[in-house]
């Protein structure tokens, strides 16, 4: 027999509200705020009038600055050509600065490669500026990263990215049937990425200003078809690709939900937002890079990903799941995992504080019956 809470929960879930009137609530909130401040402002206005009339120069100085003019920064991308050093993938320019990206030899002892058949795991990107006298200076771009993976599940490319202070760097492992890729930047520039083979892996790389991110991509296949993607762009991060679709294929509508605000002491330690859209489904946990999957059909209950320390975990839930409960080590705390409808998916995520450990993750139907047990990372 289920309890009252479960029954209320199930009954109230049948109430399907319309779309949130966000802008109307904000307008109403602003009016409230203005009314609250009205008394204080009334006094201040008298002073302000005097100051304005008495010191017109001051008012001129405080006039709003003209909108910042955005200077177009030309971006180029060329594949490493014959005669390039081993491991070179691509080079190009961002404005007046040159850049080049290469990968580490996976066969060298002590590198992070995994044997002589493995994909190179680590890469580095460097930038330089040539002065008028021919002297070459560092442009400030010097980043490296690891974690290259081969595409699976029909994806034409898997990008791994990192950022410098002003640029995003990404390197991608390309599927064998991809001839080339094109990237469209926010300001309309297009880059053509031609795969090169470095240490037996097909790779592409690009560097773009973080202020001018990649907003669209195409992967042209050997048979003439192409797959298109709209990446997920988190400000200050390189683009994250989840879903590659054939022309005309359905992509999810755009939606986003804050699953936790990350402000509850001791539990749900970081803000988690789930985004669904043409990029697929992405979870953004705190300041970490987004975790994106193709989605568009996450109808099962599953753990999609977790942080290396196991303190953050995210996934999807089937419609018939009433609640997901996580039990923490010691068994004292059983917490309901934050979950929400995001676009067409039911998504969940939780983030624990340091020192906490999840020991079980279970899903129950609306009658309280256990119907799913998540396999937690060790």
């Amino acid at each position: 027999m289920s309890d009252l809470r479960t029954e209320l929960d199930a009954a109230l879930r049948t109430v399907v509200p319309g779309e949130a009137p966000v802008e109307a609530a904000m307008r109403r909130g602003r009016r409230l705020r203005l009314r609250r401040r009205a008394g204080a402002v009334a006094g201040a206005v008298a002073v302000a009038v005097f100051v304005t009339v008495g010191y017109p120069a001051l008012t001129r100085q405080s006039a709003p600055a003209p909108p910042e003019q955005h200077q177009r920064i030309a971006v180029t991308d060329e594949p490493a050509g014959p005669g390039s050093p081993p491991g070179a993938v691509a080079h190009g320019k961002v404005g007046g600065a040159s850049w080049e990206v290469d990968v580490d030899n996976p066969n060298v002892t002590g590198s992070s490669g995994q044997g002589n058949t493995a994909l190179p795991q680590c890469y580095s990107a460097r930038g330089s500026i040539r002065g008028a006298d021919g002297t070459v200076y560092s442009s400030g771009l010097s980043v490296s990263g690891c974690g290259l993976t081969y595409p699976t599940g029909g994806a034409p490319v898997v990008f791994t990215g990192t950022e410098s202070a002003t640029n995003g760097v990404a390197i991608g492992a390309v599927a064998p049937d991809v001839t080339y890729l094109t990237l469209r930047l926010a300001d309309g520039q297009e880059l053509k990425l031609i795969p090169v083979t470095a240490y037996r892996a097909r790779l592409v790389a690009y560097v773009v200003p973080l202020s001018n991110p990649v907003v669209g991509a195409k992967a042209v296949l050997a048979n003439g078809q192409y797959l298109a993607a709209v990446p997920f762009n988190q400000p200050g991060k390189t683009a994250s690709f989840g879903l590659w679709a054939l022309p005309g294929e359905h992509v999810p509508p755009t939606d986003s939900v804050v699953l936790t605000m990350g402000t509850t002491p001791d539990i749900w330690s970081q803000k988690v937002t789930a985004y669904e859209g043409p990029w697929g489904t992405c979870w953004v946990i705190g300041r970490a890079d987004p975790s994106c999957v193709p989605a568009g059909g996450l109808k099962d209950t599953s753990i999609i990903g977790h942080s290396g320390d196991g303190l953050a975990m995210w996934g999807s839930a089937a419609d018939y799941i009433g609640r997901i409960l996580v039990t923490l080590e010691g068994g004292a705390s059983v917490l309901e995992v934050p979950r929400a409808q995001v676009g067409d998916e039911q998504l969940w995520a939780f983030t624990l504080a340091k020192g906490q450990k999840a020991v079980s993750l279970k899903g129950y139907d609306s009658f309280g019956k256990l119907i799913w047990t998540g396999k937690l990372p060790l």
């Binding site: 809470r5 879930r13 804050v258």
Partner: protein, 179 residues
């Protein structure tokens, strides 16, 4: 900064809107009023958004505003409820399969105070003290209102009285304040 705060609020409202409408619906028993209450509560939260986020648990804060807002609007509504006419259609869709309809209908038949006690105590898992503080009454009132409300629900819904009441009282003691 204001842009970020606004964006945070937008995301928060989109994410918690269904839950708050459901809470308001549980309290009011009317979807039109529920949306009014929820929107008014979000507007109040936005008006004090910096303070709300600093407080640490915006959702709990918002729930409290919803409950208070419901009280405030209910006091106004008592006069207006006898007037003819319906609220304009809010475009909200309610799907009520039979088993759920019975419980929601029984909840609607409770008085507003009893309904609020049931919702706060047994749906939101608030303790008796928290429920009393939220509703501005004594713990004794919460106990008596809960007892009467449960008796009515048992009668109206044909609930398995003793066993079920015991089970949810025990349960809410165990998970009190955790979920």
């Amino acid at each position: 900064m204001a842009g970020t705060a606004d964006e945070d609020f937008r995301e928060f409202m989109r994410g918690r809107w269904p839950a708050m409408v459901r809470l308001a619906y549980a309290l009011t028993g009317d979807l039109g009023h529920a949306e009014d209450v929820a929107q008014a509560a979000f507007a109040r939260a936005y008006a004090a958004w910096a303070r709300v986020t600093r407080a640490g648990d915006p959702e709990a804060y918002l729930r409290r505003i919803v409950v208070n807002e419901n009280h405030r609007l209910f006091r106004k509504r008592r006069v207006a409820e006898d007037l003819p006419g319906e609220l304009p259609d809010s475009g909200v869709t309610v799907y009520m399969p039979d088993p759920h309809m019975e419980l929601l209908a029984a909840l609607r038949r409770l008085g507003p105070r009893q309904r609020a006690v049931i919702v706060l105590r047994y749906w939101l898992d608030m303790s008796e003290a928290e429920t009393a503080a939220t509703l501005g009454c004594t713990v004794g009132t919460v106990k008596s209102q809960a007892s009467r409300a449960l008796a009515t629900l048992r009668k109206d819904c044909g609930l398995d009285a003793a066993g079920r009441q015991d089970s949810y009282l025990q349960r809410s003691d165990v998970v009190e304040g955790r979920l």
